[in-house]
Symmetry: C2
């Protein structure tokens, strides 16, 4: 029986990375981001993983993830992020009423303990996301001018995995599609329903890799870990 | 004649760094952050630098910065960030009507070209700050629950140096002190006057070093630069 299902979103082109290959397939210290992220979920309490990838990468992804586990499937994604997530949600077994975790493959250093903390909070509260306090002062800018300094004490950066009771996320997605709305993350779809989204402490290591500079950072992190565990 | 005066703020304790020594005095690849930041300003079009440091670090800072230039002075800072900046502003020469740049010593990898871009924009517009687009989705959180997803298209992270015509920043500080307000950055004091603050493109390399993890990142950056220039 599947209690926790993870959807790994790896369908983005990752244009800011300056590479022809989609971001999730770039090698980080020799291994693609998607494989590293999938391995973190395999090491957590997650029961099954659905990787959503560009259609041209489906076969390569199946080969890449084959060594991991039979409970890891691969499907082709859609146009927007939310279209890809919806493809993943369709792979849930009939009658599924567990927790679904949606994660960016571009966050390959996520810790299994964080994954499990989000799953537990989602089970308890219905919806939960990891967040990090902001270090920088945040400005609202319009037409090249600062129009507002936000009160950063209450502002946090959302990470993934974002966890939800399956029925709640499905209802939120149905509503977003019915309303023709594009959401920037899954929690936003749930917030639109007026449902409560809990937060858990995110992790600096769980950074989203967006630029070549971020890849340099991640390689330094991995080298550091290797040194500590050696 | 001094046209551009920089104030390097190095008075913070940097508690998140987990070190007894104030953050600006920690070594990054063998050299304190303060020295690295001061060197970036020495390599820019800046005419004079005032480093504002904890009173216990004044003598050590003078020795540290002595090799740089006679135009670099050191003064003791105050309680809050803005108290330290005010100490720096008091060092401006009589009749100064140039541009003042306020910079965090905890951003030691700032590029001289960025410093000069901010100075030029401040000279033209009166006030200018470097900003970076946000990669993460930003949530407003209250009592452990998400209450809002912000529209990140108009949100930017403020960096330093922040540049101002001297008279404008002095007026903004006077007003902030008269009103008993604590500001999170200098631009916020100027925004409170209703004055316009322009933005220039910030730099990923100009990140504020806050945690040991950030130090690891910065060391990887320096190693990369060394490889490129070797």
């Amino acid at each position: 029986v599947i209690h926790t299902l993870a959807i790994l979103v790896a369908a983005g082109r990752g244009e800011r990375m300056g590479s022809a290959r989609p971001k999730a397939f770039l090698a980080l210290a020799g291994e693609p981001l998607l494989l590293r992220a999938a391995r973190a979920f395999a090491a957590s309490g997650t029961d099954a993983v659905v990787a959503v990838v560009p259609s041209a990468e489906v076969d390569a992804s199946r080969r890449l993830l084959a060594p991991l586990d039979a409970r890891c499937q691969v499907v082709a994604g859609g146009e927007r992020r939310q279209d890809s997530v919806r493809e993943g949600l369709r792979q849930a077994p009939a009658g599924f009423d567990g927790v679904v975790l949606v994660h960016d493959a571009a966050r390959p250093l996520v810790e299994p303990a964080l994954i499990d903390a989000v799953a537990a909070a989602a089970r308890e509260h219905g919806a939960a996301i990891p967040v990090l306090a902001l270090c920088d002062t945040i400005k609202r800018v319009e037409h090249g001018r600062v129009v507002e300094t936000l009160d950063r004490a209450s502002l946090f950066a959302a990470q993934t995995p974002q966890g939800f009771r399956y029925g709640l996320l499905m209802a939120a997605y149905e509503r977003a599609y019915a309303d023709g709305v594009t959401v920037t993350d899954e929690a936003m779809a749930v917030e639109r329903l007026g449902a409560s989204v809990a937060v858990v402490a995110g992790s600096p290591r769980n950074r989203k890799l967006t630029t070549p500079d971020d890849m340099t950072w991640a390689e330094a992190q991995l080298a550091d870990s290797a040194r500590v565990s050696a």
